[in-house]
């Protein structure tokens, strides 16, 4: 696994994995074709290209995965991206367990969502349709770069690339300025994180002179780093992650990002992009294991985010907003896991979450589709009769996220809770509470949407219909995955060696062994499951047939998301704008330019005064001459002596 020198050593050319560049290349091609030919191509052609390229790379990813499973991990080096002085940054891909797993998730879920989109976006004009698919492909491309990059810089390229795509896709319907605002907000908040990421990279370069994983994560290099450096670097990287993965304090962009088309929300803002932060930290777990302080920070931030988002989700009425906040909350769980050193658990949850959250989003998409663009759940209800498949799949999704065995969510969330318990029972308690809230608001959503009687307008009711197969099939597939997805990580307590995922990832992820008695483990599982079921029943009793009611008191605070956006606006945005106005109107014009022009004005004034000396009278001229003569004589004879 040593980085090749120059990239064309024989053993590397022999290595089949050298061909992985095809995986990102195909979506890139799709992007170019669809992007440039969006006027010429017809919709079917566009969707064919969009999905086809992705299908192929999905197939390739499976092949790669099998290769890796067969123990063939490889760093494919292509060319020197930047090489200055001692610093050399190659353009290289790293194919190992972690990346191959993510490859599967991205291409797989991505493919499904492409298929889904091809019918969901039917109403768009061809060129916008093409634009949509080109963006989507571009996103897949950058996401693949992100996970395949063999060093932090290539990773960063993808990192910013996905940010760009999310910007483009949130603002896809660019006629609506508030959508564009949301897009800009997403991009800028990501930028803040990215800056921290960059500084971390620079710090690494300054200390180690290299950024490639293979070299950074070697014992010799890590030994060079002082604890302080490691803490700073890891913290900075984590700040980067908070931007991308919507953690406190940079999470507010994600709910707004729901402005984009629903499949986009499913793909980017639920399944893949937002998990980039987790991937990055998991990727550099060796570094993090050396920075306990950072780990604590991560754990607390993650937990706080999980709780905060969950509380907010309780009172949201926009179906997508609820899902968005639940995403934030779930991401919080993942970070909690990371903070507790349970990297595998985090990755596991990323996977399962990708399944059920994508499922939920697509389901909501199907609902919105059916409701003719209506997103407010207060105007829904009783949809279960009309949208059977959607309802069932949605239900599965909810069960999965709520964490009821044997659905996938249960295993991953359980692993996380366990790790939290091991770190600190208090953490566990809070996390459990958040999990319960999750169950509650998810089922609130489910019941208000599907049960009870319809609360929308009549023509909406008349218009209600089940979505076409192109949309339902992905739902079904994802539903199946949401059910069985958890079986790759069955805890030891049930089956010895059930934790396939853990084994698979063990080469890249080193976790300290933890030991809790089986009884405790059983007890915890039972507790959580029981409470969750109780919560579901409570929600059922409360929202079986929903009555519209104004939120009051605390509920209002929650409905307004703890006024965090308002706070940011007042604390940061407004001052910056004020400063800009001040500099623009006062400082630049009056002060600096004032000085410059003042010199000119002074010149004029001096000139006007000075020419009065030229009185035009010979007498005064001579007088002045004589006086100056006297002065000079005095200087010469009486002063200079």
């Amino acid at each position: 696994m040593t980085r090749s020198d120059g990239g064309c050593g024989d053993q590397i050319m022999q290595n089949a994995l050298q061909m992985v560049y095809l995986i990102p290349l195909l979506p890139l091609l799709g992007f170019l074709i669809n992007g440039l030919g969006r006027k010429q191509l017809s919709k079917p052609a566009i969707s064919l290209i969009g999905c086809g390229t992705l299908l192929v790379s999905f197939a390739l990813s499976i092949w790669v995965f099998l290769q890796v499973k067969g123990g063939n991990v490889h760093t494919a080096h292509y060319f020197d991206f930047i090489s200055v002085g001692k610093l050399n940054i190659p353009f290289a891909f790293k194919i190992d367990q972690l990346s191959s797993l993510f490859l599967l998730i991205i291409t797989g879920v991505g493919f499904l969502i492409h298929v889904y989109s091809s019918s969901y976006m039917q109403e768009e004009k061809p060129e916008h349709f093409g634009r949509y698919f080109s963006y989507l492909n571009l996103f897949i491309f950058s996401m693949l770069l992100l996970v395949m990059g063999a060093n932090f810089v290539v990773m960063f390229i993808g990192w910013e690339g996905v940010g760009l795509c999310s910007y483009l896709l949130i603002g896809f319907w660019f006629k609506k300025q508030e959508y564009n605002k949301a897009a800009s907000k997403a991009f800028i908040m990501n930028r803040i994180g990215d800056l921290a990421f960059l500084i971390a990279i620079f710090w690494l370069i300054a200390k180690l002179g290299t950024v490639s994983f293979d070299e950074v994560f070697t014992a010799t290099n890590l030994a060079k780093l002082k604890t302080f450096d490691i803490t700073v670097i890891t913290l900075l990287l984590f700040v980067g992650a908070t931007g991308k993965s919507a953690q406190i304090p940079l999470y507010t962009w994600l709910p707004d990002a729901m402005a984009g088309p629903t499949p986009v929300s499913a793909l980017i803002h639920a399944a893949t992009m937002v998990t980039a932060g987790i991937y990055m930290i998991a990727r550099s777990n060796i570094l993090y294991s050396l920075a306990p302080f950072t780990m604590d920070i991560i754990a607390y931030i993650g937990l706080a985010t999980a709780l905060l988002a969950a509380t907010i989700a309780l009172k949201q009425n926009d179906i997508k907003k609820v899902l968005a906040y639940s995403t934030v909350s779930q991401l919080g769980f993942m970070f909690l896991a990371l903070g507790c050193g349970a990297y595998t658990a985090a990755v596991f949850h990323v996977m399962t979450h990708a399944f059920f959250k994508a499922l939920l989003f697509l389901g909501s998409g199907s609902v919105i589709h059916a409701m003719g663009g209506e997103q407010d759940i207060r105007n829904m209800g009783g949809l279960s009769k009309k949208l059977k498949i959607t309802f069932i799949t949605f239900l599965i999704g909810c069960i999965a996220i709520a964490g009821i065995p044997p659905f996938s969510g249960f295993f991953s969330k359980d692993a996380i809770l366990l790790s939290a318990f091991i770190k600190n029972p208090v953490l566990y308690g809070v996390a459990l509470f958040a999990a319960l809230l999750t169950a509650f608001y998810m089922f609130r959503l489910l019941f208000t949407t599907f049960s009870g009687k319809f609360r929308g307008t009549h023509e909406q009711e008349h218009h209600l219909h089940e979505s076409p197969p192109a949309m339902t099939i992905p739902l079904i597939v994802l539903a199946i995955l949401a059910i069985i997805g958890g079986f790759v990580g069955i805890p030891e307590v049930f089956i010895h060696g059930g934790d396939k995922l853990g084994e698979f990832l063990s080469p890249v992820i080193t976790e300290q062994e933890h030991h809790v008695s089986h009884s405790t483990e059983y007890m915890l599982m039972g507790l959580s499951t029981g409470l969750v079921i109780a919560m579901i029943i409570f929600a059922w009793s409360k929202f079986r047939n929903y009555q519209r009611s104004e939120a009051t008191g605390f509920g209002k605070v929650l409905e307004n998301k703890w006024y965090v956006d308002e706070f940011y606006d007042a604390a940061i945005v407004k001052p910056i704008k004020k400063a800009g106005t001040f500099f623009n109107q006062v400082f630049d014009n009056k002060v600096i330019d004032g000085i410059v022009n003042g010199v000119g004005r002074l010149l004029h004034y001096g000139s006007r005064q000075l020419r009065l000396v030229q009185s035009g009278q010979a007498g005064s001229y001579i007088l002045l001459m004589v006086i100056s003569m006297v002065v000079i004589f005095v200087i010469q004879f009486f002063i200079r002596k």
């Binding site: 003569m629 006297v630 004589f633 004879f637």
Partner: protein
């Protein structure tokens, strides 16, 4: 105190007094007359300094030709006390102070020069005689002499240009 010294003091006082009168008398004609007196006293000094030739020339050229010219002009314009323009009082004072301070400064500066004890006034020596001067003028100083003719020419042409009626 020899006779020459007495003469020196006398002439000096006359010169300075008449010079002061030149600048102070209201009537231009009077100033001219006072100025002529000044020139005469200066010529007296020349004689004391055995510069006989210059003394004569001074009287002929200055007191004679030039001052008469002035007198003619003044008469021609019949300037007199009434037509005489007066400077503003303060300006006059300022001028007087300026000139006076210049004198003061110069005198103060030059009162102890390294040559202050050298004698100027002795009755010997004939360099001032026309013979010597002429010899010098037409041998060593012939070139400047010719050049001065150019000066006169230009002055003449100038007078023509300015004076000729159109």
């Amino acid at each position: 105190m020899s006779i020459t010294q007495i003469l020196f003091w006398f002439l000096s006082i006359v010169a300075i007094f008449s010079a002061l009168m030149v600048i102070s008398s209201k009537n231009p004609v009077h100033s001219v007359l006072w100025l002529i007196l000044t020139f005469f006293s200066i010529s007296g000094h020349y004689i004391l300094l055995n510069a006989q030739f210059l003394a004569i020339v001074n009287i002929i050229v200055y007191a004679g030709a030039i001052m008469v010219l002035f007198l003619f002009v003044i008469m021609l314009m019949n300037l007199n006390k009434e037509t005489e323009p007066q400077k503003h009082k303060w300006l006059r004072i300022a001028g007087a102070i300026a000139g006076g301070s210049l004198l003061l400064v110069l005198v103060a500066a030059l009162k102890d020069t390294d040559i202050k004890h050298q004698q100027a006034l002795v009755n010997t020596g004939g360099i001032g005689l026309i013979k010597n001067l002429g010899k010098e003028l037409f041998t060593t100083y012939v070139v400047p002499f010719e050049i001065s003719s150019i000066l006169f020419l230009s002055a003449m042409v100038g007078a023509v240009v300015i004076g000729k009626k159109e």
